[in-house]
């Protein structure tokens, strides 16, 4: 199957998946016993966060591959995945914030997981900014790869430090955003949306990679005509 074909297939599946996700999230799953309708945001928030973590993990692996083998494709995957990861994380945090307002009465909390996720977002925004500022493409790729590797390896350390810090300064009775139930029809909604957002990630990644390939082709043509 061609790259374009895969991309189209993913796009179609993602669209279907998202529709299915909307259906299951809004109609199929029952409202939460405690939180009411607001809980439905979790069907957006949780998949977004999980797919983000996947995206950043892929940035990490692709970065290592790039430094090791200098395959341009690995770098393209890293860069694209980082873009999508940053977008999804920002959306996830926004969704969580919207959930938090009616639930806890606040837009923000210094909960450990939220704090760590925000730091993760900052690190990878930094990654994108760094790459945007470096003029020479392959130098930017190397810098980005090193930053991504350190950033990703830092995440567990950051998380531990924030959790310990929180237990010092906050009583442990803070509500945590997350699926607040295990009712099977809610699980259906959750997994459907998770699958849908993963497909969307795949589609966006494929599309972005195609853009990179077009750029390479353009460069190659330029070099041929002028060189």
């Amino acid at each position: 199957m061609t790259g374009r074909g895969i991309e189209r297939a993913l796009g179609l599946l993602a669209a279907l998946g998202l529709l299915a996700g909307l259906y299951t999230g809004f109609l199929y799953a029952p409202p939460d016993a405690v939180q009411g309708e607001v809980q439905r945001i979790m069907y957006l928030h949780v998949p977004l966060i999980l797919v983000s973590y996947l995206a950043f993990f892929i940035v990490f692996v692709a970065s290592i591959l790039y430094l090791w083998r200098r395959r341009e494709r690995a770098d393209a995957i890293a860069h694209s995945s980082a873009e999508i990861g940053v977008l999804f994380t920002a959306l996830a945090i926004a969704a969580g914030s919207i959930w938090g307002r009616p639930t806890w009465g606040t837009w923000w909390t210094w909960d450990a997981r939220l704090t760590t996720t925000t730091i993760l977002l900052l690190i990878f925004i930094g990654y994108l900014m760094l790459r945007a500022l470096v003029d020479d493409h392959s130098r930017g790729a190397v810098f980005g790869a090193v930053l991504a590797i350190i950033g990703f390896l830092d995440i567990p350390i950051i998380h531990m430090s924030v959790v310990w810090w929180r237990t010092l300064h906050q009583p442990p009775s803070i509500l945590r955003p997350g699926p607040s139930t295990v009712a099977p029809d809610m699980q259906v909604a959750l997994y459907t949306n998770l699958a849908a957002w993963m497909l969307l990630y795949g589609y966006l990644l494929a599309k972005r990679l195609r853009l990179e390939e077009a750029r390479w082709e353009l460069n190659r043509l330029r070099m041929e005509s002028l060189g």
């Binding site: 430094l67 730091i119 900052l122 690190i123 930094g126 900014m129 760094l130 500022l133 470096v134 020479d136 130098r139 190397v142 810098f143 790869a145 090193v146 930053l147 590797i149 350190i150 950033g151 390896l153 830092d154 350390i157 950051i158 531990m160 430090s161 924030v162 310990w164 810090w165 010092l168």
Partner: protein, 225 residues
């Protein structure tokens, strides 16, 4: 061993050049002082609040000051193409990284030591008896800042937005160090049992190890164009 000789040569050269003019460490010290001074104003007159926040303020001052020092260190190499000269020696890239790291680490540590008495005066703390323990906390924290900062400043050195990018990349990554150093300092200053600081020391050691290993493995790729 020539590797060690080179590391020493680079660190010594950095510190000697700095000592001659003393521009950088003076600016760093003055900045740390200003941060401590201004913050105590900003927190108002509540002495308990100020004392409670003091460890945090101290390490904020140290972190900002490190950024200043790191920036000036790499700037010194960019003048007159000295960085190019440095990279033209048949020196292992790791030796260059470690040499710069030692220079940066020493400069920041010196500024911290000089800032501590000022801190003690402004915040009315008895530091003298606690100095060894404070050092035990400060050394791994400063090492982590210097190691990460040396790595990042080699990336940001040539950029248009160098001044802004270095802190923007450095701060999120070094948050665990900040938390650990603040909590550790707090333990010492409040006279709490030192075992409470030990998990934080281990955290800093883990962080420092990760950064040092990754930096040593990747530095040579960062400096070629």
């Amino acid at each position: 061993m020539s590797f060690a000789r080179r590391v020493w040569a680079i660190a010594w050269k950095d510190l000697l050049a700095e000592w001659r003019d003393r521009e950088s460490v003076t600016a760093m010290f003055y900045f740390a002082f200003l941060v401590l001074f201004l913050f105590s104003f900003a927190l108002g007159a509540d002495q308990a609040l100020i004392r409670g926040a003091s460890s945090g303020l101290l390490w904020l001052a140290f972190t900002f000051t490190s950024v200043l020092g790191l920036g000036r260190s790499i700037q010194g190499e960019l003048e007159n193409d000295c960085l190019d000269g440095l990279l033209l020696y048949p020196a292992e890239r790791e030796a260059i990284y470690l040499g710069k790291l030692c220079g940066n680490f020493s400069a920041i540590l010196v500024v911290e030591m000089v800032t501590l008495p000022i801190f003690a005066v402004l915040y009315n703390m008895d530091l003298w008896s606690q100095l060894p323990k404070l050092m035990v906390i400060a050394v791994p924290g400063t090492l982590g800042l210097a190691a990460t900062g040396t790595l990042l400043s080699s990336m940001t050195a040539g950029l248009r937005a160098r001044e802004a990018m270095l802190p923007f990349l450095l701060f999120p990554l070094t948050i665990p160090l900040l938390l650990a150093a603040v909590r550790g300092t707090e333990v010492v200053l409040l006279g709490e049992p030192f075992e409470l600081a030990v998990p934080w020391l281990k955290l800093m050691a883990a962080f420092d190890t990760v950064v040092l290993v990754v930096s040593l493995m990747t530095f040579e790729y960062l400096v070629e164009e």
